[in-house]
């Protein structure tokens, strides 16, 4: 009886070559693709991949389901924005400060929450993130409270007096996002092929057994959390700089924490490609809803008349429905595809192998 769902075997040289080719293509995209909307979608996908892959390190590999990762996202976002808008510190330094801040609070949170197991850990992670959100709302002197922080201008990046890039177009954000994605994937790959990966997964599979095999739970859980928090804050910083505006309800919300988890469980927890697939599914879907593309195309294709009650309902409301779709997706995935898309297809191909054998 052979199970194909082995997370530790490498995927083979073919995958590596294929991936490198895709990466090379991605680097060339902005040169040939001028459509800013396409670039916009790509940037959002990159942010989501980083968000999901970072969470994956703690949740997928180590089995600690934090539903409060918005705390680290928001920490990165707010630190970068506050330093830039209120202290004129350029974002290439601010991002580092954000990562440091995220690391510090991660270690504090870890010391509190890791004593708890399973659902209690989930609840504690939610409570902590909510504390951050409410604090950001109340500490108006630091964060502007509910009004949020708006970017006036990102200074151009200069080295030795010559301008490398300004931030008026989407292109620098695209490349930054792509680089962040590569960093996160590299980190995940390194973890998976190192002692850390073995220990993380052992903790996920059976914490007490892992403990009795010489694995310090405190050390390794906090390591996973630290790495996860730092990388999540990267995505928060990028998001903040790209979108140009943040407030507690967007970057510190429970909704955001849920969508971070969703990216992973849709694609497949504990795998390198899972969050990528999750982002590729979620981002276009939610953008299509947000921008009313679905509604518009249904109407312009003639399937739905614009003046009909359904038509007006579509145009007015579907853009608000993306959270609803998140909810539906979570329900569907948990009920029918708990191992995510990847797991689902692996199980299918396993059945085929069984029948063929």
């Amino acid at each position: 009886m052979k199970f194909p769902l082995n997370t530790n075997t490498g995927r083979g040289n073919l995958t590596i070559i294929f991936s490198l080719a895709i990466v090379a293509l991605l680097f060339m995209v902005p040169t040939y693709v001028q459509n800013t909307y396409a670039l916009h979608i790509m940037i959002l996908i990159f942010v989501n991949i980083v968000m999901g892959s970072s969470w994956n390190i703690l949740g997928g590999y180590t089995g600690q389901y934090s539903v409060g990762h918005s705390a680290y996202f928001g920490m990165g976002a707010y630190t970068t924005m506050i330093l830039m808008q209120f202290r004129q510190i350029p974002p290439w330094y601010g991002v580092w400060a954000g990562m440091l801040a995220a690391l510090v609070i991660a270690l504090i949170i870890g010391s509190i929450c890791f004593r708890l197991r399973g659902p209690y850990f989930v609840l504690a992670s939610i409570a902590v993130a909510e504390i951050f959100r409410v604090s950001a709302l109340n500490l108006k002197n630091i964060t502007n409270g509910a009004e949020g922080i708006l970017i006036t201008e990102i200074p151009p990046l200069t080295i030795n007096g010559s301008v490398i890039t300004d931030f008026s177009s989407k292109v620098p954000f695209y490349y930054t996002g792509l680089v962040f994605v590569l960093i996160v994937i590299l980190v995940t790959w390194l973890i998976q092929h190192s002692k850390l990966g073995y220990f993380f997964q052992a903790i996920r599979e059976d914490q007490d057994a892992a403990h009795s095999l010489g694995i310090s739970l405190t050390l390794y859980k906090n390591t996973a959390l630290g790495i996860s928090a730092v990388l999540t804050s990267l995505s928060g910083s990028l998001y903040a700089l790209y979108v140009g505006f943040i407030d507690p309800s967007t970057v510190l919300s429970l909704e955001l924490s849920v969508s971070i988890v969703l990216i992973c469980i849709i694609g497949g927890i504990g795998t390198i490609f899972g969050p990528i697939i999750g982002a590729l599914v979620l981002v276009p879907l939610s953008e299509a809803l947000r921008s009313n593309m679905i509604g518009q195309s249904l109407i312009s294709s003639g399937l739905v008349r614009a003046e009909s009650p359904f038509g007006t309902f579509l145009t007015e409301n579907l853009s608000h429905a993306h959270v609803l779709i998140y909810g539906v997706l979570v329900v569907v995935v948990i009920l029918f595809m708990p191992d995510g898309v990847l797991g689902f297809f692996k199980a299918l191909s396993a059945k085929k192998h069984k029948e063929a054998a």
């Binding site: 082995n6 002692k195 073995y198 997964q201 059976d206 009795s212 095999l213 694995i215």
Partner: protein
Amino acid sequence: MAILEIRHVSKFFGGLSANSDVSFELEQGMIMGLIGPNGAGKTTLFNCITGYYPPSKGEVVFNGKTMNGLQPDKVCKLGMARTWQKVRPLAKMSVVDNVMVGALCRTNSLKVAREMAMEQVRVVRLEHRTDFLAGGLPIGERKKLEVARVLATQPKLLLLDEVMGGLNPAESEEIIRLILDIRTLGITQMVIEHDMKAIMRISDRIVVLSSGEKLAEGSPDEIVNNPDVVAAYLGSE
């Protein structure tokens, strides 16, 4: 030289006394059988010894070092390892990866760990399952996997908790052979078992627990002829 000293160990859970003033010693290299009716406190004692929880009273001394309050991971690193009564395979990881987790206790190199792991996989005769997921193994092989995994941590003292539970005679025989082979490696062992024939064959000495207290200690012959021991087992039926 006593490798392990249990000195007046007691463990209370609320009002319940699971272990009560238990004392005995293990000599280096011996196999000690730990027997007693269900609920006698054998697994509780294992848990106290290995740091799963600390004893309420008394001391556990390993190689001259007091172990009270040490976390299980430190206990393992010092050379004391245990298996679990209810097997705990790392289900979504392969057999060799499971054993590697144990080996990584002693090395940081994945390559070396894999070699160490494969050696133990061969010792317990699970090479044909090297890349299978642990979660898919039948119970007998899971028990062997657990032994291989714990051997990879290079223990000086090995605590086996009902490692033959639920096995058929052929599988039990394999485990017995394994335990005897482990002794030739110089590893001291304490074995909790219900299979009396097996215990008689492998043990150099036996400690009997009943209702949390040490009832008797002695050679297998002494124990089998001890009327208190017989009464404890008969009385618990």
